[in-house]
Symmetry: C2
Subunit: 330 residues, 2 copies
């Protein structure tokens, strides 16, 4: 998502970030089915039509890639080289998962659900369908959706057509696209994307902690105009309102500060776009001639501010280091 798109409450299709592990699969919505099975009393096979007939919910959700900010780390982990652009807010429409689980009847020993996508490939030398699990506790939240529409239209192929999971508040790897199967299991899932990837580790030997909810972050739409190659910004002297967005998956954002050359001041925070979506913020800056370093920093309701030093890990996940934008004012 180019950062000027922070101006939109809901990110236009094609500007929302996208992380595709393997190929976008070729699925015919007319013959596709979702299977709910495993430790359930009544396995279900659901067509897209079945799902469209169920109760429908639409809500704006801010989704962010766990690797957002990775390319700003030093040393730089080798993977998708995101700077700050792997975020977006879409209006997702779907049917809540919890009532479907109730219909299927989870067995008492079910502890997790494993979500399987139709995308298949090789990662870490393991051939795999893309699969992630989530605890029964997390999947029972009312905001967890099986989504079939984005911004009021059927999902585009690259966003998970015909059906994807949406887990508000969690990094994007959790919201499995191209869903084909949901399996209730009685042992913790040991799939590659669960135990080998998406872990906070300082070195390869560690098991590490799992990557889960989105860490607090604010981003600004860089003011002025860009240079094509360097993407450095140039802006005229005088008053300019800098705008941005802030979000967090663990607690509400309660504060955004704006920094000019290291001096922090309070930004003006607007109401969130939705319970699980970002808040717009703005700051009236008077740009004086010279080169300036602009920063922004959000703090969540638990009192966690964004770090000023990089939270390094070998996969480069969860890097919510404050954004820096260098602007030449003339």
């Amino acid at each position: 998502m180019p950062l000027e798109a922070l101006r939109y409450d809901v990110t236009p299709v094609g500007m929302h970030y996208l992380l595709t592990h393997f190929d976008v699969p070729d699925i015919d919505g007319a013959t596709w089915k979702l299977r709910i099975e495993g430790r359930v009393r009544r396995p279900l096979d659901l067509t897209l039509e079945d799902l469209l007939e169920r109760p429908s919910v639409s809500m704006p959700v801010t989704m962010e890639c766990a690797g957002n900010g990775r390319a700003r780390l030093s040393p730089r982990p080798i993977s998708q080289p995101w700077l700050n652009e792997a975020v977006g807010t879409a209006s997702w429409t779907g049917t809540p998962l919890a009532p479907l689980l109730a219909e299927a009847g989870l067995e008492d020993d079910a502890i997790e659900l494993v979500f399987t996508g139709a995308d298949r490939g090789i990662q870490g030398d393991v051939e795999q369908d893309y699969e992630r699990s989530l605890t029964i506790h997390e999947t029972s939240r009312p905001e967890v959706l099986l989504a079939y529409a984005m911004n009021g239209r059927p999902l585009e192929p690259q966003h998970g057509y015909p059906l994807r999971l949406i887990v508000p508040g969690w990094y994007g790897m959790t919201s499995v696209k191209w869903l084909t199967r949901i399996e209730a299991v009685s042992e913790p899932f040991q799939g590659w994307q669960q135990v080998d990837a998406y872990r906070y580790r300082k070195d390869n030997g560690e098991r590490g902690e799992p990557v889960t909810r989105i860490r607090v972050r604010a981003l600004m739409a860089p003011p002025g105009i860009p240079d094509f190659l360097s993407r450095r910004r140039v802006a005229p002297a005088g008053p300019v309102t800098v705008i941005g967005r802030a979000w967090c998956g663990t607690a509400p954002v309660v504060r955004v500060e704006f920094g000019v050359d290291g001096a922090w001041d309070e930004a003006k925070l607007e109401e969130p776009v939705g319970e699980f979506a970002w808040r717009r913020w703005s700051y009236d800056w008077t740009a004086s001639p010279g080169e300036h370093v602009l920063t922004c920093r959000a703090t969540d309701a638990a009192g966690n501010p964004q770090p000023l030093e990089q939270p390094w890990n070998i996969e480069g996940c969860g890097n919510n280091l404050v954004q820096e934008v260098v602007v030449t004012v003339d």
Copy 2:
């Protein structure tokens, strides 16, 4: 555009390639106007509503970035590092430009039209609105559109909302987005994007030849499944139908050959999706165990095949070197 999207006649929104020189501008379609002026007898100011009331045409057009293939060149020019993915086919809807020019009444000394976009930035040390010109001869072709819709919906911001030029057959830099002005001029336009960029040159001292129409090219959707990091392909042994697309802006594509480890054979060509859109092709390959290099090569009606050696130039434009896909069959 990830190459598996070659499966679609019309590329879904968000999978079509996008090259944005500067920021996506923030335009209010309700107050926006297009000005047609310069060497015309009756300058026109047109609202979006005015344009929507005019005769409307929809057609599929294959568009490609002049820099597609740049990152495969050696030495590698520094700019947008496209491999082969900067292409797409959209169904564009708009009103033909020629009748509007007739209404404005071109003066006899008008030789070119200059198209100005609302996107502004710095390139080659020159601050500029994005601007390109085209001769009156080229702009008078019936297929040249002022487009306000893509795939049946209003343009998304990043594709030029509210209005863009569509020049079928030409590389994408010609189809100026976020149009604000069309100026008829009596001298050749000397703007940066016209005389300093988009030229075929072997070194910086040369003026070079302008980049114009799309060179002949075929691409395949790589068979099998990818490895996440290397994007290398793995496929099972046995019969597989490899599909792809071929297009050309100077003459129709008349032939596609498919190569396995250097041995060429004829691929099966289907009818074009439209007069200015790509043709689907396919090849039935029997994959034998081992590592194979797959290639494809289109030839146009003028007898020009794609080159087997890179057509190098300093900007890395028009590189239609044949695609190579390495597949490990097991």
